[in-house]
């Protein structure tokens, strides 16, 4: 297969290598999580992002630090690419106090207020209204920011998808809706759940500028996202992108994968986003085998360090159990009522 794609204008060897490194960080992080899950260090539900790395690594560079990100329960990739340190993310997997949500959230509830990373939402579709509201507050306060909202193909069946796209479009809010279509809502294939499987058509029905992009191709992801961000930043309303991607691993660690053929998985693995991108970097003369091996070593060292950090982390004392449910009782805003 010949691949005639040329590097985008803003790409040089350093940018190319940075993107590759981001995808590799995500993959190695997830591989470590899978091992740690088997070892009993990570519990609960764990949803791995392996196969979908190009989406997180290709979208985040198009956003600025003031923009917001809303993600799903399969959000380790987005968190890493957004800049959540691998140490804090891994400590969160362990439920340690040093985790980015102080251990209260776990794999499905990654938060980082400083990086405007708003979860980590494990109710399918539940993040979309939140994204609409973040964008509404920006408009009301005249802040020129974008809210990027990730969700899967499963969310498209939820009412909250339709309510949110309609509301964002009606009010012309700066939301970039990013659908990661990995073909399966847990074990239910798109065409077994949706009467209209062309998701772009659905988004267009709410008058959002919409496109589909190859989610296995980092360059396609980044180009589409830059177009989307530019549209949204104009202040004329939201936009929608469907990334066609695939998860190579099971839905969660409890999934026996009875619903899809191994042959299908193997076919998608021939489109591995890291392999595709590495081949391009080679062809463009941006990297050498030695450079990629260096990245591999550095990323392996980073993940080993993250795991050591998480292992060394501390458990929140049980005495703190009831904290962070509501704010600690403050002085009443007004004098008490006389009885």
């Amino acid at each position: 297969m010949t691949d005639a794609v040329l590097p985008p204008a803003h790409f040089d060897a350093a940018v190319g290598l940075a993107r590759y490194r981001e995808m590799l960080r995500i993959r190695r992080f997830e591989e470590a999580c899978a091992e740690l899950y088997s070892a009993g260090k990570i519990r609960g539900f764990l949803h791995l992002y392996i196969g979908e790395e190009a989406v997180a690594a290709g979208t985040m560079p198009a956003l600025g630090p003031d923009d917001a990100v809303v993600a799903t329960y399969r959000e380790h990739g987005q968190a890493l690419a957004r800049g959540v340190p691998s140490r804090a993310l891994m400590a969160e997997m362990f439920g340690k106090r040093e985790g980015c949500s102080r251990g209260r959230g776990g794999s499905m509830h990654v938060f980082d207020a400083a990086r405007r990373f708003y979860g980590g939402n494990a109710i399918v579709g539940g993040g979309l209204p939140i994204a609409v509201g973040l964008a509404l507050a920006d408009v009301l306060a005249h802040r020129p920011r974008v809210t990027a909202c990730f969700f899967g193909d499963g969310a498209v069946a939820e009412g909250e998808f339709h309510e949110s796209l309609n509301l964002a479009s009606l009010w012309k809010l700066p939301v970039l809706f990013l659908c990661e279509n990995n073909l399966y809502a847990m074990g239910t294939r798109l065409d077994r759940a949706q009467s209209q499987i062309d998701l772009v058509t659905k988004a267009r029905s709410y008058r959002l500028p919409s496109e589909a992009a190859d989610g296995m191709d980092l360059l396609a992801v980044e180009a589409a996202t830059r177009r989307g961000v530019e549209l949204v930043r104009r202040g004329e309303g939201p936009a929608f992108i469907e990334f066609r991607t695939y998860r190579f691993r099971a839905h969660s660690m409890f999934d026996a994968e009875l619903y899809r053929d191994k042959a299908e998985v193997e076919l998608w693995k021939t489109r591995d986003p890291l392999a595709i991108f590495a081949a391009r970097l080679h062809r463009w003369g941006h990297v050498t085998d030695a450079a990629l091996a260096d990245v591999d070593r550095e990323v392996a060292a980073e993940m080993a360090d993250a795991v050591r950090f998480a292992e060394a982390g501390t458990w929140e004392p049980v005495e703190d159990l009831l904290t962070e449910v509501v704010a600690p009782a403050a002085a009443p805003a007004v004098a008490s009522l006389a009885s």
């Binding site: 917001a68 985790g99 980015c100 949500s101 102080r102 251990g103 209260r104 959230g105 509830h109 938060f111 980082d112 207020a113 708003y118 979860g119 980590g120 939402n121 109710i123 539940g126 979309l128 209204p129 939140i130 994204a131 609409v132 509201g133 973040l134 964008a135 509404l136 507050a137 920006d138 009301l140 306060a141 009412g159 909250e160 309510e163 949110s164 309609n166 509301l167 009606l170 009010w171 904290t323 962070e324 449910v325 509501v326 704010a327 009443p332 805003a333 007004v334 004098a335 008490s336 009522l337 009885s339």
Partner: protein, 327 residues
């Protein structure tokens, strides 16, 4: 000044919109229509469509949008037309508003105020008239308040807006037309404490919201029969201000809880359990309850009235308690 519960809430909304530029109101028909209970009538003209936002019939999206806006520094007041419709936004209220502070390890908080009409009494049948505030009071992370007087209708909103956490305000729909005197300097009130609305010596009647008036009426009837009832307005359903309840019941040694919610698995059950846990040996009688019959609210007036707590039932419950356990 003489005013109504509805106007008192409107005054509170107007004050909030004037005092804090971060405040905005959104919900179904709050703008051009003036609010389904006419609470926000005139505010669209006064504050414009950016701050008085009519929404589509998308409860989950606009409640969730309120949560998102609160996360980003706004102070949204979201009106849900009626408590039964709030069930369409339950995901956002229970899974997001109530959990984000906790799940984020305290990095986030959701200073949203959600107002909704609750309760029966206007023949609106079984999808517009339930009392589900007790249900919401089950949820850690939420604050639940129930203004039952003009002063609370006027004063609870501003205090709720100062809360760093989500506050749900339940306005009983039979109260909107309630007329009375409101002090000219009425303003913010605390939302933490239960208060004694009528002091008494013989029994404590514990209630809130739409049944406060009925309970006060029952207390008047009881006076004529030689029973001096104390009436307590809970005001906040979560957290419950047990100290005021306990100090009253410790004095009177008897209590009846009047709750328009159903009895099973209810707020009245919770209060009863807590009082039995803390005051069992000081009680002269088991705590009694007057609740709504366990039936979806029926349409015909006579059946609706029969389903709801009414003063004669409160009086009967008190008399039974007093006579059965008088030495």
């Amino acid at each position: 000044m003489t005013t109504t519960y509805r106007e008192a809430i409107r005054m509170a909304l107007r004050e909030a919109l004037q005092r804090d530029p971060r405040v905005f109101l959104m919900g179904e028909d709050v703008g051009a229509y003036g609010g389904s209970y006419a609470v926000s009538k005139g505010l669209l003209r006064e504050f414009g469509p950016d701050r008085i936002r009519d929404t589509p019939l998308s409860e989950s999206a606009f409640v969730g949008a309120g949560i998102g806006a609160a996360l980003a520094g706004a102070r949204p007041i979201v009106e849900v037309m009626t408590v039964n419709f709030s069930l369409l936004a339950l995901d956002q209220i229970v899974n997001n508003a109530a959990t984000l502070r906790h799940m984020s390890g305290g990095q986030l908080n959701v200073p949203i105020v959600i107002r909704m009409a609750t309760g029966a009494g206007r023949q609106l049948a079984a999808q517009h008239a339930h009392s589900l505030e007790g249900w919401y009071a089950h949820i850690p992370g939420l604050r639940i308040v129930t203004p039952a007087t003009l002063a609370d209708a006027r004063g609870m909103l501003w205090t709720a807006l100062q809360s760093p956490d989500p506050v749900l305000i339940f306005e009983h729909q039979t109260l909107y037309n309630m007329e009375g005197i409101l002090a000219d300097d009425a303003g913010a009130v605390d939302i933490d404490h239960a208060v004694v609305r009528r002091p008494g010596r013989d029994i404590s009647l514990l209630t809130y919201g739409g049944t406060l008036g009925k309970t006060l009426a029952a207390a008047e009837t009881l006076t004529a029969r030689g029973i001096d009832a104390e009436v307590i307005d809970l005001r906040s359903l979560r957290p419950l201000d047990m100290s005021v309840l306990e100090s009253s019941v410790r004095r009177t040694r008897r209590a009846v809880i009047v709750d328009e919610g159903w009895r099973s698995g209810s707020l009245s059950a919770e209060i009863s359990a807590r009082l039995h846990e803390s005051l069992f040996y000081e009680l002269d009688a088991p705590i009694a309850r007057v609740c709504t019959a366990e039936v979806p609210i029926p349409y015909p007036r006579h059946l609706e009235e029969a389903a709801l707590p009414q003063p004669p039932a409160i009086v009967a419950a008190v008399q039974q308690l007093v006579s059965a356990h008088h030495g």
